[in-house]
């Protein structure tokens, strides 16, 4: 088995953990549970992008991982801000 095959298997396994993590978003029950699940996809997505950067030899995907990390924080902040002032 080559090195890139091993990384590919790792990527596949990571993706499968994300599928399980997303089941929590389907099950809920509260909004916060769903948000946790999305947060897991955010950090898992960063890891997936870093693995894909190596696999496809596209170093720019590291920049994408950086942007995803930044914007996932913005989205999470927006999620917790909702409905705070009753509006």
């Amino acid at each position: 088995m080559t090195l890139s095959d091993s990384i590919l298997i790792a990527t596949l396994l990571l993706l499968i953990t994300q599928v399980f993590g997303l089941l929590r978003a389907v099950l809920g029950p509260s909004l916060q549970d769903r948000m946790l699940s999305v947060q897991l996809l955010g950090t898992g997505g960063v890891a997936l992008l870093l693995l894909l950067a190596t696999l496809l030899s596209v170093p720019a995907l590291i920049d994408v991982a950086l942007v995803l990390a930044l914007l996932a924080a913005v989205a999470a902040a927006a999620l917790t801000r909702r409905g705070k002032d009753g509006a």
């Binding site: 953990t17 994300q18 993590g21 509260s30 916060q32 947060q39 930044l70 999470a76």
Partner: protein, 93 residues
């Protein structure tokens, strides 16, 4: 040899992600789930980044991965805390 070590680290990192996902699914309440998840975020990604840095070499590359990891660390610490606060507010209301 270095490659083997790097790959092992990547798989260990993914093991943490798996533990986080299972924790998110199996644990009974939001606070313990939050706890499981932050483990996955912080340790899993850190170990995976270390493994990737070993595989690819290059100081600039390693620094970039370190930056990504620190960002995720700082962001997830704050957002998890805010989610916990919101969950607590929901319960007390």
């Amino acid at each position: 040899m270095l490659d083997l070590f790097g790959i092992s680290l990547i798989f260990i990192g993914i093991g943490f992600y798996a533990a986080g996902s299972i924790g998110l699914l199996r644990l009974p309440d939001i606070y313990s789930r939050l706890h499981a998840l932050t483990k996955a975020d912080n340790l899993g990604l850190g170990i995976l980044c270390a493994g990737l840095a070993l595989l690819n070499g290059g100081l600039l590359y390693a620094m970039k991965l370190l930056l990504v990891w620190l960002l995720v660390l700082a962001a997830s610490a704050t957002t998890s805390h805010m989610i916990a606060q919101q969950a607590l507010r929901r319960e007390t209301n």
